[in-house]
Structure formats: structure tokens, C-alpha cells
């Protein structure tokens, strides 16, 4: 019973089949990017176990495909079991061993990157400092617990996963419970029109939501845009409900006074706080003579620490990121506060945390070395025979 399974798992036939399926998945996953956008296509086809593809003009044609995780896992199993079962080490095969070791490292590295890497951004204008990065794919509800203190912010945050599950949240530093009433992954928030919306109640009983309505929208698929979540939550104090409020990324923070204390609550991009801050000193945007074609984007920043020790100034520009404290800062976008270019320069850094960044470097080195060794063995043998 076990034998045919082992034979299948270690067979070259399986390898070839998996490679062919890999070609298909990558091909259709690439085509899908035109209609689904990069992010959605990536998670549907590559970060998945199974998927299906349909041409977006003919939706009834459905092509089932294995996902990237499934293919990667099977390739790993195939490769490792083949080595355990069939391969016997010989110097003539040393290249193949090296190559396969490198492939294993690359596959595992990609898996770890998928699991542990975190991408976020830091955006600011000249003169501003930030001690956090923002994740543009995720949202959180943030409650500023002591909004009257201007020197230090103390914040309680609720992640998207709890919001979309409509969970109830309590926290020792909050004198109220937050109960999510309505949650939209993507929504249009607009002013409530006096004659049109007569039979549609206001979005909330308190705050700006009393003058607004929320309409749910399907999540956006365009690459450069993000979905704009909105939620309606009820705050419940010790003496019962305080009313409902509307929160959205397009709205200002909502101010609530409970038991004499001021709280400022907002829906915002998820933040990752850092033990240091980055201050943008100067932006430089050069173009080629007489054109608008970009020649160079460059940001001069200062790394600042609470104690003031170890502060230093650094230039970040294209192909020259800053690696610091496990994070890498890349120049991503550059702009200006005002469209005509008269305001302060602004800059956006892509900030990446990837603990397994070294894996592809080593893996690639091994594979390249292995291929060179193996082909040299072939080539030398071939030339000897010819000569």
C-alpha cells in the first residue's frame, strides 16, 4: 500500500507535473492581475491552496488550479523524499545536490517571508517626525485615552479582525465598552441629503454621523487605491448606552466626553510603533533637463532616539535604502503639500521588516553554484569525448 505512494511522491513524473502546473498558475495569476489588481491576485493564486481562474469577459468558463502553497509544499515533499529514497551521493552529482538544497532554502525562505514579513509605510512632510509606521492594508480603531494631555499620547487600539467580527471590547483604561454595530470593509460616507434620504435614518445618534449616511461598497481591486472601511459603534458606559458613533477614515476623529474625561476616537491605518523616530529634513526631486522624467528622488532624514544619543542624519534614495533596527526604509513616493509645488516637500517610505531576508541570497548562491558545477561536469565530459 505504501510503496506506490512512495514511488509517486519520489517520481520525476510528479516533478514535471508540478513544474507544468507551476507554469500554469503563474501564467493565470499574472493574467488575473489585469482585472483583480496585484494584491488580490497574489493572495488568490499564490498565497492559497486552491483557486480557479475565469476570463473576466466569460465568467462561466472555470479553470480549477492548485494554489501556490499547495504546489510549493508538494515540490518540497517531492524533492526531499526523492533525495531520501533515490539519490546516492556521488561527486558526479554534487551539483544537483547543491542546486536542490538551494531550491529548498528558496522555497522555505519564501514561506517564512510570507508568514513573518511585514510591509508598512511612513509618510510625512519636511520637518515632521514619526515614531510609527502605517499599514495601508489594515485598519484599526484607536481611542486616545487622554486627549487633553498634549505631550504624550496614550492609545488603546482595536484591530480590524475584532471590528469585522463585530466584537465587544473593554479595556481597563476605558470607562466604557465598545460594541460594533455595523462594519463595512469598503464604504462610501456622504452627507445625508435633506429630501432624498428622508426614509433613511442617520448613520449614528451622536457625532458627525447624525448628518451622514453610509453605503457599503465591494472592496476595491485597483492597485493604487485602498478600500475605505467605515463602522458604527455603540459606546456603553457604567450607566448604560451613551449612543452610537460613526467612524471612517475619511472623517475627523470623533470626540467623546465620558465621566468628565475627553476621548478622541478614530478609524485609521494600523500603526506599528517604534522605539525611535524618523524626522524628514529635506526632499530632493530632480528631473532630466527640460522634461518631467524623474532622475532622482532623495530624502534627508534624522534618526532620533528618546535620549538623544546616537542620533544621525542619513540620505535615502532610489536603490539606496536605510537598514536600521531590523527595518528597511525605501524611498517610495515623493510629492508636495500643494499641487503647484509651493508647499513643503513630502515623502513616503516603504518600510519592510523581513527576518528571513537572507534566505534568498544564500539559496540563490547555492543553486547558481550547483548549476555551474553540474554543467561544467557535463561540458568537460562532452568536450573530452569530442576531442
Amino acid at each position: 500500500m505504501l510503496k506506490p505512494i512512495i514511488k509517486l511522491l519520489t517520481s520525476l513524473r510528479l516533478t514535471v507535473t508540478l513544474l507544468a502546473l507551476g507554469v500554469a498558475v503563474v501564467f493565470f495569476g499574472t493574467l488575473a492581475q489585469t482585472s483583480d489588481g496585484l494584491y488580490v491576485a497574489q493572495s488568490r493564486y499564490f498565497r492559497s491552496w486552491f483557486s480557479t481562474w475565469s476570463p473576466h469577459t466569460v465568467p462561466w468558463i472555470v479553470l480549477p488550479l492548485p494554489g501556490g502553497y499547495l504546489l510549493g509544499t508538494l515540490l518540497l515533499v517531492n524533492l526531499i523524499s526523492a533525495h531520501l529514497q533515490r539519490f546516492r551521493f556521488a561527486w558526479k552529482k554534487s551539483g544537483i545536490f547543491l542546486t536542490h538544497l538551494g531550491i529548498i532554502l528558496l522555497l522555505l525562505g519564501q514561506l517564512f517571508t510570507d508568514m513573518f514579513a511585514r510591509e508598512s509605510r511612513m509618510s510625512f512632510a519636511e520637518g515632521e517626525g514619526r515614531n510609527y509606521t502605517e499599514d495601508f492594508q489594515k485598519t484599526e480603531l484607536a481611542v486616545l485615552t487622554d486627549a487633553s494631555d498634549r505631550t504624550y499620547d496614550s492609545v488603546v487600539t482595536i484591530p480590524e479582525s475584532l471590528l469585522s467580527a463585530r466584537a465587544e471590547t473593554t479595556h481597563p483604561s476605558l470607562p466604557f465598552t465598545i460594541r460594533v454595530r455595523e462594519y463595512h470593509e469598503n464604504a462610501l460616507v456622504r452627507a445625508r441629503a435633506p429630501f432624498v434620504d428622508t426614509n433613511r435614518p442617520p448613520a449614528s445618534t451622536e457625532g458627525v454621523g447624525t448628518r451622514a449616511v453610509v453605503e457599503g461598497r465591494p472592496p476595491t481591486r485597483e492597485m493604487d487605491k485602498r478600500s475605505m472601511p467605515a463602522l458604527v459603534a455603540e459606546l456603553i458606559g457604567s450607566k448604560g448606552s451613551l449612543g452610537t458613533w460613526l467612524f471612517s477614515m475619511v472623517l475627523d476623529p470623533q470626540e467623546v466626553v465620558v465621566e468628565g474625561k475627553l476621548f478622541r476616537i478614530s478609524l485609521r491605518d494600523m500603526r506599528y510603533y517604534q522605539p525611535f523616530s524618523v524626522r524628514l529634513l529635506k526632499t530632493t526631486h530632480e528631473t532630466y533637463l527640460g522634461t518631467t522624467r524623474a532622475k532622482n528622488y532623495q530624502s534627508r532624514i534624522r534618526l532620533e532616539h528618546p535620549g538623544g544619543t546616537g542620533d544621525r542624519e542619513v540620505d535615502i534614495y532610489m536603490n539606496n535604502p536605510l537598514r536600521y533596527s531590523g527595518l528597511t526604509f525605501f524611498q517610495s513616493q515623493m510629492g508636495n503639500e500643494l499641487r503647484d509645488g509651493s508647499g513643503r516637500g513630502t515623502s513616503v517610505f516603504q518600510v519592510v521588516k523581513n527576518p528571513s531576508w537572507i534566505a534568498p541570497y544564500v539559496g540563490c548562491g547555492l543553486v547558481a553554484a550547483g548549476l555551474v558545477v553540474q554543467f561544467m561536469i557535463h561540458l568537460v565530459g562532452f568536450i573530452r569525448k569530442k576531442a
Binding site: 517520481s11 520525476l12 513524473r13 516533478t15 514535471v16 513544474l19 507544468a20 507551476g22 507554469v23 503563474v26 501564467f27 495569476g29 499574472t30 493574467l31 492581475q33 489585469t34 496585484l38 491576485a41 497574489q42 499564490f46 528558496l106 525562505g109 519564501q110 517571508t113 514579513a117 510591509e119 492597485m223 528631473t287 532630466y288 533637463l289 527640460g290 522634461t291 522624467r293 524623474a294 532622475k295 532622482n296 532610489m318 536603490n319 535604502p321 528597511t328 525605501f330 517610495s332 516603504q350 518600510v351 519592510v352 523581513n354 531576508w357 534568498p360 541570497y361 539559496g363 540563490c364 543553486v367 547558481a368 548549476l371 555551474v372 554543467f375 557535463h378 561540458l379 562532452f382 569530442k386
Partner: protein, 630 residues
Amino acid sequence: MKTKLPWLIPLAFLVWFLGSARMPADKEFSLNRFGGLPVVFNGRHQPLDSIARNALLALRGKQTVNLEPWKGTFERPRIVSATEWLLTVMATPEVTDQWPAFRVDHPELISLLGLPDKDREKKSDGKHYAWSQVASDRNFQLMQTNSAVAEEKKAELRTPFDQALLRLNSAMTLYFRLKNTLQPQDAKDWAAELATLDQLIPPGIAAARASEAGRPYDTNALEALLRPVGRMQVMSRLEPPLVIPPQDPARQPESWTRTGEALMGHIRGEPLPAAVSDYAAMVSAFRQGRGADFNQAVGRYHDRLQGALPREILKTSREQFFNHLAPFYKAMVIYVAAFLLAVYYWFNFADWARRSAFGLIGLGFLIHTVGLLFRMWLEGRPPVTNLYSSAIFIGWGSVVLGMLLERFWRNSIGLVVASAIGFITLVIAHNLSLKEDTLQMMEAVLDTNFWLATHVVIVTLGYASTFVAGFLAIVYIVRGFFTKSLDVNTGRALARMVYGIVCFATLFSFVGTVLGGIWADQSWGRFWGWDPKENGALIIVLWNALILHARWGALVKDRGLMCLAIAGNIVTAWSWFGVNMLGIGLHSYGWMSGAFKWLALFVISQLILIAIGFLPATTWRSTVPKADAR
């Protein structure tokens, strides 16, 4: 005789190449000197000659103008060189307005603009039209409104009509710019007008000041100045080439300006740059047919620049020479001749033909290499910087591999593959050069010589070797199925060649792809982003790995190997061009729709070849498949 042919044939081509390398002599006007003058356009220093050639490519897809396109080739229509055309546009636009320099192909566009059909009597070939026709008052309005509509659409939704319309519209804009580069387009004697401008400025400025202060002023003086000011503002707003060199090249080497801007500065009180008057002297002399004066003005200006900007002068004169030399075009011609000779060898095994082909490919390769190095030196960059140069480099790498194969096997197969891929990639490069300036500056993201030299070069070699394997397989199928010329030994040899080249292809495409990942990690912090071009490269790697594993596992024999290798052509063509047609991702630097048809045709042709590869052995004319089955 036949023993000398392998020397004589390449020698004849060498003589042709060297003979054509000399610049043609000037007649009345020293056009060569004028064409070599440096200006800044498209963000880079270039000779006027390059502007002229690129403009004509945009207008009509050729680097010369045929003034009598309705005549046949043998009736000797009058052909004007790019530089002569540009000088005429800049000096006497009312003349070039009547020249049929705009090519319009789309029948709907022709009828929309009411352009004449092919008609010898009316001196029309139904394709080439003059500015006076495409930009008549009525048509100008039509072009404006229709282009605005087409412009609104997303690139991938534009119809062929929209594309033709936009192409013509941008050609018209370019022409309009060029007319306003050295002088306002309506100038009659620009040098004389410029001389009188100095007399208008002081009273005009005085009048303007008085008018601002609310004092009485000389209306005539103000109006006399405002008229030229209006023309100059139009000139600089059009954004024509920057022809006026920096006044202080030592301290501000980058401060090139346009004629209109320099004149506005002069009216505000700055000294008039000498280049403005030099160019004015040139255009006026050319207008009035005074050759000696024109040549003197060009010489004077050239000598002045030689002192102030020696490096730019040197660079632009070399680029002008490179344009004239056209090494890639000549290499293309030589590859065709070599291909014919190499194929001829298969029919009668005449060794002189094979050796002549080898010599010719060697010569073509030499010229190809000269062109490649010349380009690298002009740009100061590694060989591959854009889609155009990738085509040149794929051809170059394939020719190297083909010649190596020939050294080992001496059966003309390497030669056929080398010359075929060399020729095809140079044709592709030529067509890409019609779309944009091939020496264009790099976007900031790509501006790193280290990664261009490693990732891009290696991955391009990966493309080249995959194509070589695919073309070897085509030789197997075509010769094996259609002819008896393929014997069993040659068939075996082909299989070993394909296998060896696929090994190379795996190495290059893998290392190149992963180096791309490392570049991405260095520049954007992610090793792999599933960007279409990355995916395309990954598919090539997977496909080559698949071929190798199928071979090792004995899942395929020679014929199957050949079919897989031909499919490699499809995979590579998709990765090279197909992903650019999706118009998404970081690498979508070359959106192209016209090429889609060609890609589709190529894919279909490869599928047909694969299908033939599957036909039963009895239908093959050669015995190769039977031997393979054993």
C-alpha cells in the same frame, strides 16, 4: 574559385560596410556640421541629426523624406535627408508645410480628414500627406476634438483608429515644436527682425513701466514690443528642444534653455546669448539661399562651442556618426545573406557555402558588436537599458551561441540558428526604434549600472539561450518532417545541442531572475513581488527545469524534447513582450499594441510546429522519428 569564395564573399560585404561608413559630402550647405550641433531634448544631449531622425521616425516611420511618394522606386523620387528636412522645417516652414512628411494609414482617419486617395494625377500615394493637408483649419479642429476623446480612454481600450489618431496628433505637435525651435514660425527674415528687436526694447519697457504706474505712455512703443513678446511666449510654451547652451558652462553646465526663453530674458534686461543670433544668421542665410554665409555661421557657432563645451560636441558628433553608420541595419543585411548560404549547404553539402556563411556571420557579428559597444559608450551604460536594446542583445548572445555550436558540429545548424535569430531580433529592434528615442534617459528606479550590468544582462542571455534551443528544435522538426536531409546522426546531434543549450538557459534564466529578486530586495525591500515581468522570468525558469527533468526521467525522447523546446519559444516571447502588453506592474515600460498581432502570429506558428512534431513517424520524410522510437 570555390575555395576562395569563403574569403571573397565576406570581403565583399566588408568593403560595402567600410565604403558606406564615410559621411556623404556636403554640397552647397554644410549640413553635416549643422546636424552635429548639440542640443538638449528628451532630457539628454543629442545632435540635431538625432532629433531629425527620431522626428521623421515618429512622422513617417523612416529616417528620410520622400518628396514624391507617388513615384515608383525606379522613377527616382526626390529623397531628402533627415538633417536637410529639419533645417528646412526650422528655417522655411512654409516650404516643408507642403512636403508629404506625415504618414496616415488608417482608412477611417484618411476619410475623416478628407485626404485624397491614391491618385497619380493629384500627386498622392494615399499614405503620405503634407502639414497643409492634415492641419488645414478644418482638420486642425477635428484632430483636436477627436484626440481629446481618444486621450480620455485607457490605453488598452483604444481602437486602432484611436491609436492612429493619437499618433498623428503627437506627430503634428512635434512638427509644430520643431518649427518654433530656432525662430518664430512666421518669421520672414529672423536675423533682421532680431536686430530690430534691440531698438524696440528700451522704449517698450519704458512705456510698460509708465503704464503700470498709471502715467501717460507711448501706446505704439508698447504694442511694438508686445507683438514679439507674444510670439516668444508661444515659442517657449510649446516646449521645443533646448538649443541655447549654458552661458557659463563651467559653473552651470546644465542650464540649457529654449530660444523663446532666452529672448524673454533679454527683454527683461539679460544679455542676449550669442547662440540666438548665430542660429538666426543660419536660418536667414538658408532662407535666402546664401550658402557661403550659412556655412560661415555654422562654422563660427561650432568653433565657439568647441571652446566652451568640448565634451558635448565630441559626444554629439559621435552620435551623429553612429546614426549614419547604422551598424545594426547592416548586420541585419549580412545575417540574411549568411542564412541563405547556410541553408544552401543542407541541400548539397557544399562546404564553401558553409564556410562562407561562417565568415559572413563572423563579419555580421563584428559589426553587431561594434554597434553594441558604440551604444554602450554613448550612453555610459551596460548593454541593455530598454526593450530596444534587449532585442539587440538577445540577437548578439544567440549569434555567439550559434557560432560556438558550429565550432563543435560543423553542420551548418549553428549558423542557420545564429543568422535567423540575429536577423529576427534586429528586425524587432528596428520596429521598436520607430516608437521612441532608443537612447532615452533611464527612470530613477532603474538608474543603477550595477544591477543593469548583472541582472538585466544575465536574464537577457537566458532569453537568448532559450530562443537558441527553440530554434534548434525548429530545425529538427522542419528538416525532419519536410526533407530527407536530416539523417539519424544529425538528429541525435540536434538533441544533444538542445539539451546542452537548455542547461545554459536554465543557469542564466535562474541566476538572472534571482538577481532581479535581489535588486528588488535592495531597492524596494521585497525579494519577490509577483510582478508580471518577474512572473514571466519565473515561467522561463520553470519551463527549462521542466525540460531537464522530463529528459532525465526519460519521459520524453528526442522528438518530445524538441516540442518542449519549441514551447520554450512561446514562453520566452510571452515573458519578453506579452507581459508588457498587460500594461501593469513595475516593468511595464513599453506598452505596445501593434506588437500584439505579431506575438499572436508567432505563438500560432510555434503551436503548428509542435503539432507537426506530434504527427506519426510515417508522415515524416526523414527516418529520424523511427530511429528515435527505438
